[in-house]
């Protein structure tokens, strides 16, 4: 009968599919057991995406230790760590999330230090008519500005800084209906870059990163307009690769790394006076 032939073909198909699946599982399990390659897993705030990628590549070439990076909003990453994400190191965009992780036992308190100070900028694409370099915050009141992108203040430190800066200049109430919130500072940048928002609060580190440098102009929001974006890093208490992770943190303190971070627009504490 016709239907029994169909049945046989589909059973054959399913058996073949299962065999392929089993073979794939086999190949995945084998090298994981044999491999001795060293790696560390790093969770990092979205403003570090370009700088840390460069540092990780350099470090891997030099030491053979692979640095695997996961970027996101600091609040989101904290949440993941509290729920058991197996990271070794967490670079936050503020000091509060690392302290929170230390308080609830997820991070090693002696490892906390301030590795950089972030800076907030107001960014527009090159083809924008807005003269952000000279007019600064005033461009937000320009009638051509329909949407203003920023990070979500609920869980992105740069979003919090942007909200504080808006309040500092007495603009928050005037523009609140035009704010669009990115999940993290990178997404806020993406909103402006794609032309969906006309202007956005992004990290200076984004604005000067190779991928965005040629695409836009910016104005650095003065540091007195928002609480300092002190960024802290901590070692996880249950770090699966704690020796390699500690070595990477030492590398982060070297003059070479400090120079790279400076190039990406991070303000930095003087060497040896890291604690605030």
């Amino acid at each position: 009968m016709k239907s029994s032939k169909y049945f046989r073909t589909s059973v054959q198909f399913l058996v073949a599919l299962s065999l392929i699946a089993l073979a794939l599982i086999g190949t995945r399990a084998a090298p994981a057991a044999a491999s001795a390659s060293r790696e560390i897993d790093v969770a990092a705030a979205a403003d570090l995406s370009s700088a840390l990628q460069e540092l990780a590549d350099t470090y891997e070439k030099r030491t053979g230790v692979a640095v695997k990076l996961s970027f996101g909003a600091s609040g989101a990453l904290t949440q993941q760590i509290q729920n058991g994400a197996p990271f070794d190191i967490f670079f936050s965009a503020d000091m509060d999330y690392p302290k929170q992780l230390i308080a609830d036992g997820h991070a090693n308190s002696s490892s906390l230090y301030r590795y950089a100070v972030g800076r907030l900028v107001l960014w527009v694409p090159n083809d924008s008519p807005l003269d952000v370099e000279h007019n600064g915050m005033d461009v937000l009141l320009d009638p051509s500005v329909k949407k203003i992108a920023m990070g979500n203040p609920q869980h992105a430190p740069y979003g919090r800084a942007a909200a504080a800066a808006l309040k500092h200049y007495g603009l928050y109430e005037k523009v609140s209906d035009r704010l669009v919130l990115g999940e993290n500072i990178s997404q806020a940048a993406q909103f402006v870059e794609s032309g969906n928002a006309q202007v956005g609060f992004v990290a200076l580190a984004h604005a000067v990163a190779p991928a965005m440098k040629a695409k836009g102009r910016f104005w650095i929001v003065p540091g007195d307009a928002y609480p300092a974006l002190d960024q802290g890093v901590v070692l996880m208490a249950r770090s699966p690769h704690s020796q390699d992770a500690k070595a990477f943190l030492e590398y982060m303190k070297t003059a070479e790394v400090v120079a790279v971070l400076r190039r990406y627009g991070f303000g930095l504490p003087e060497p040896e006076t890291n604690s605030k």
């Binding site: 329909k146 669009v180 919130l181 999940e183 993406q190 909103f191 032309g195 969906n196 928002a197």
Partner: protein, 230 residues
């Protein structure tokens, strides 16, 4: 605030509008897929199924770029209305229609294809126009598939997250849907609020699905007992 009611109403509104739009554009598209003999039909079928495979965030990113002022479509809309489509409710509707397209079209097309062709021929020989045949023969016989398509679209849009995250901008009352609201509450460690909203979403969607499937079952039984006897 334990439950963000505004986000709930907004999400239900979005899901209802998207279901209605997909019902209207899904019918002709599914009809074409079910009955066309064009050789290149499989390409259209693959295109329609694509949102199932594409990660919602990728789909959302493409929509964001397509709606933005860098794209011709985005510029055209901007010259027409003075603002971009992203971060608006209309933008969400467009993104959701793309995202849920296969969930409407596939059940529609499958049920159209299963209609006995002899009945269509009989209807034609009795002088009914193709349009009349479609509304009087094909659609009633495909009713369960049509209901399934609409319900899947509704449910899929209720729980949509990635696309809204990419193109919404999290504006209360405009683009903050329940799933985004729940995500925000989780990120802010307000677990009680996140739980309450998630539970409400779950109960609501379960109730809607249960009611629709119960009605669908009764309707199918009725059609079965009435159909051949007459």
């Amino acid at each position: 605030m334990l439950i963000d009611w505004q986000a709930f109403l907004l999400t239900i509104e979005l899901a209802v509008i998207v279901s209605a739009i997909l019902f209207v554009i899904g019918l002709p598209l599914a009809y074409w897929i079910a009955f066309s003999r064009l050789r290149w039909k499989f390409l259209v079928e693959a295109l329609v199924a694509l949102p199932i495979v594409l990660p919602p965030t990728v789909l959302g990113f493409y929509v964001l770029v397509a709606l933005g002022s860098q794209s011709p479509l985005g510029r055209w809309w901007q010259s027409l209305t003075g603002h971009t489509l992203a971060f608006t409710f209309t933008g969400l509707v467009i993104g959701s229609v793309l995202y849920s397209l296969p969930f409407a079209v596939q059940p529609f097309a499958a049920s159209f294809a299963s209609v006995d062709r002899k009945l269509l021929a009989a209807s034609a020989t009795l002088g009914a126009s193709p349009m009349r045949t479609f509304f009087r023969v094909v659609m009633p016989l495909s009713a369960p598939g049509l209901v399934t398509g609409v319900v899947l679209t509704f449910a899929h849009t209720m729980g949509e997250f990635g696309v809204v995250l990419m193109i919404g901008g999290n504006i209360p009352g405009v683009t903050r849907t329940v799933s985004i609201g729940i995500y925000d509450q989780v990120q802010a460690s307000n677990y009680a609020s996140a739980n309450a909203m998630a539970l409400l979403l779950l109960v609501f969607c379960f109730a809607v699905l249960a009611i629709v499937y119960a009605l669908n079952r009764r309707a199918a039984q009725k059609a079965w007992t009435m159909g051949p006897a007459r």
